[in-house]
Symmetry: C2
């Protein structure tokens, strides 16, 4: 189903936006955190367990599904929704991020035509182009497809980025031309690193192509560069239309959600809640200040011996299934034993944690107290650990 | 809650029994297959997912819980039910089977007092006695505790078994003496290998101690000796009281369920449905005849390439969650990707498969056509594969 975004209101004292995304007769509130189902499954969870976290859109990865099970299999299954038994909206990324970061050989070859690289599964040679990415996403039949963009390394300099955003724009145009799924929206992606003029150029030219929504790219996985992330948003959102969804890709740290919503972003995705879970971590309220001063997600590791006799929930007052029915001691036991139900419980809590954060932010925007909410968020920060 | 068994009827043409087990105001039908939650979790599943398979009692392993998280932790949690969020009945085994088969060093030392052995977790020295086993189970607060017995190797000869059953009887008596949980039933275990006189002696003397139910032990994990298994049952059940539950430990092959019910057994447990699942296997109707002629469970392995484009359910007509919502192609994809939700779906199907088999057997007994049911079961057998 194509997406329609309705801006309900903007916070009186910030750029934070309260909105609604409609997919046919289904509607979901923004700001929204989207859980990630990389391989057509949110790791360790059933769709029902994901739904109980009250998500809106979920994400699936084009790169992974292209390689396995292949778009053809998904098409034969009747599309991604039917294949994975998910009747809510699905957003697919373009595959670009994985090609630029995960693909088997680091010696990827970026040409004007597309990117040559090797499969991380079997080392076979692959070639991803803007047209191919859109064709795959059309076939997967997600609700929102993303344009194929270059994800430049964090170390890229101004001149590299200038060339890159020009090519990314040409790729966006080529992808838009071949997009051919009337039930699927197509989003454009703004790049340009932390440079104001590049972000503006990229945003204005991408918006001129008239996409169904816009993403701010090139910010994820840069823990050390939160300032660059915030600059990227600050320099992009002024040039994005008010009546279209704004998506910050690959971001899932609570502090980044708050700072991005503050700057006018609507939706987010990140693998962090399920990845943290598999390593035994539960998100908990507050901020953790890393030794270098970076504010990070606050978390506890349930493998830690101090939880052996802790019969309290992961987070007091949390309404998630894990917190309602299980103690830290039980989850500690499961994680120590390598039982996957431990990772399931932690995944549920972590996903619900980020979704609750979004719910709280929506409430704050509705009541024009987002600045107060943001202040309180920082007041809960903890000392370096 | 203590168990009470009510025999409803016996099949007109066999020893197959239709019954009901009551735990306070909860009642469950027998014959019954019990899923195994070794470490206080049925592997890869939530309690809700297990419940959707319509089980009655589930099993947890005393040996594992003794080592981790320890009975003390379970007690602090308020007992095993609360710890693992399972409000249905739980049976704990005695730990004996694990001590005799899994424990770290094969050089276990069996004395009249108990068994010295090494922990499989850290190699530390442990000593399990009948009193200790019962004390642990009392503390875990399961609904049914099992007596600590010797599980002799399949190769044990007549003389060894004769000494063993006499010691097992002394151990049963010692355990019964210290049993001290008014909400917990205690079962005795009949041993004696495939020998009629030993089984009779063990059954008669164990029954004389007046337990709340009886188990037939020493039959599991002996794929090659189905005849010995059936002999063990045939030589035990005539001496077991009609008004007590009869439990065949560690048995989960469909053909063995049918043959044991035929011989008057009521309940079973086995790790096979979840273990098969983790290796990609789904139980399917029919029998597979192994090259040596042994009838085995029929199964398909979802990792097999032939399922890549198979958009049918694991088993047509199956009412389980996996078969109702997912295709073989999807589960093939999950198993190929190493996604645990694949193992969850296969576990659900396999558990439900064995529970459905029990439901079908109950129906057959109710209608006095168990022999016909058993005949049809064999007619569905397949040639050697």
């Amino acid at each position: 189903m194509k997406v329609e975004y309705k801006l309900i209101k903007t916070d009186k004292n910030s750029k934070a936006r309260l909105g609604k995304v409609h997919f046919g007769d289904k509607a979901y509130d923004t700001p929204m955190f989207m859980p990630v189902g990389t391989q057509a499954t949110v790791k360790t969870l059933s769709p029902e367990q994901v739904k109980a976290c009250h998500p809106g859109i979920i994400l699936a990865n084009t790169y992974h599904l292209w390689l396995r099970p292949t778009p053809e299999v998904v098409k034969e299954a009747g599309g991604l929704h039917k294949f994975m038994n998910w009747d809510g909206p699905i957003l697919t990324d373009s595959g670009g991020y994985q090609v630029f970061s995960l693909a088997h050989n680091k010696k990827k070859d970026i040409t004007e035509e597309g990117v040559h690289f090797k499969s991380e599964l079997d080392g076979s040679k692959l070639f991803l182009t803007p047209e191919k990415s859109i064709e795959i996403q059309n076939t997967l039949d997600s609700d929102i497809a993303m344009s194929f963009d270059e994800c430049p390394p964090a170390t890229a300099d101004y001149n590299y980025l200038k060339n890159s955003i020009e090519r990314t724009l040409r790729w966006a145009e080529r992808g838009k031309k071949v997009h051919n799924n009337p039930n699927q929206s197509l989003f454009g992606i703004v790049q340009g690193g932390p440079y104001e003029d590049l972000r503006r150029w990229s945003a204005e030219h991408t918006v001129a192509l008239n996409f169904d929504g816009y993403s701010i790219g090139g910010v994820a996985n840069d823990d050390e560069c939160k300032d660059d992330m915030y600059k990227a948003i600050d320099f992009s959102t002024p040039y994005l239309p008010e009546d279209k969804l704004r998506y910050l890709m690959g971001v899932g740290e609570p502090v980044d959600l708050v700072e991005s919503v503050f700057r006018g972003v609507d939706i987010f995705d990140c693998v962090s809640p399920t990845r943290l879970a598999r390593h035994g971590n539960a998100l908990v309220p507050g901020l953790r200040i890393a030794p270098d001063g970076t504010p990070k997600e606050n978390r506890i590791n349930l493998k830690n011996a101090r939880f052996k006799h802790d019969f309290t929930p992961l987070e007091g007052g949390c309404d998630c299934y894990a917190c309602q029915h299980y103690t830290k001691a039980y989850i500690h036991h499961l994680m120590r034993c390598g039982e996957t139900f431990g990772a399931s419980l932690l995944s549920i809590h972590n996903i619900r944690f980020l979704i609750r954060l979004c719910e709280d932010m929506r409430q704050a925007i509705a009541e024009d107290r987002f600045l107060e909410f943001r202040d309180n968020f920082y007041k809960n920060s903890k000392s370096p650990q």
